[in-house]
Symmetry: C2
Subunit: 175 residues, 2 copies
DNA sequence: TATTGTTATACTCTATAACTATA
DNA sequence: TATAGTTATAGAGTATAACAATA
């Protein structure tokens, strides 16, 4: 259990993280926002999924996904076909254009990170990935671990790949 | 130097971090956004500073600070007095109400983090702080920038007083 | 009635550009 | 001319609430 000063410093790092996100945002291709990039990556990883599932994976409201996905469909990056089994739902699928976009995205972010983190070791990057994954998992009330490498093969399973999964439901500390 | 797959995973963790930020945002007091909280913390740490300095510390455009600070002054949390030495400038100072607000803020975030990170050790939290500090530093201090990227003014900051300070250009965060 | 998704509205954060007032 | 700050505008991300279609 950490102390108050440490938590305050952690929060400060959280807010400073905005700079990193903004820098990454500057290299995004036209029409492709952070959110679009995240959706492309998830579709590539999980295959054809429904909007609700996507909202769950990204931990945002479905209205957010709905608008986002509409934009991406207009760009030609994804298909939205009605689910034959439940006509309220729509199945999302990456188009070839979507894959191209994802490749371009991956190319650009890799180049930027390789430059900025050129003095980081493989191991250090791995540690940051691990800690951020665990942080997210500590904050995720669903117990799932949607976007982490540690859960690549198992987004439905209760994250067996690390010993820190949290199923706590307490709302302590919330208004 | 890490590999492409690792960089891609890192970017995924970055986007997943949004959830953490949103959760933290939910406990903020009325009228006090993430941005306000960050400004309060910086004013408390650095004392009376000018708007430009604040913009530099937060790595955002001054127009952003201007609006933010206007809101905070309206709330009574900060004073904006003209700088006698340069009447174009304004010196920002925390009011007693601003301190109270910061205390309340600190109380709430500490409670939330203590709950969510209850199974993290002191050392683990410290490692995350160190790695995020280094990440930030890697993104605002690089001499060579990839084509098409806007330079972010590198800044030197005074050494803060506690052991988890973030702005130093040290090897903190490295093993 | 409950669930899936859509749309409308509002609020925050951010950057650019045009503006002012000093220097 | 150059700098410190302000304001207007635009765009992205998010949440809530009202709504439609289907289960």
């Amino acid at each position: 259990m950490a102390e108050r000063a440490q938590y305050e410093e952690l929060v400060r790092q959280f807010s400073a993280f905005g700079l990193v996100k903004r820098e990454l945002g500057r290299i995004l291709p036209d029409g492709c926002s952070h959110a679009s990039a995240a959706v492309l990556a998830l579709l590539s990883r999980y295959g054809d999924i429904r909007m609700g599932k996507l909202a769950e994976l990204l931990a945002v409201d479905m209205s957010v996904i709905s608008r986002q996905v509409a934009h991406m469909a207009a760009q030609g990056w994804i298909d939205r076909s009605p689910d034959p089994a439940d006509r309220r739902s729509r199945i999302l699928r990456l188009t070839p254009e979507g894959r191209d976009q994802l490749d371009e995205l991956s190319e650009r972010t890799t180049r930027l990170l390789a430059d900025r983190l050129s003095d980081w070791t493989d191991d250090e990057v791995g540690r940051l990935i691990g800690l951020m994954a665990r942080l997210r998992s500590s904050f995720d009330s669903t117990g799932c671990e949607p976007a982490g490498l540690t859960a690549v093969t198992a987004h439905r399973t209760p994250s067996p790949s690390h010993p820190y999964a949290s199923d706590r439901r307490t709302d302590e500390g919330r208004p």
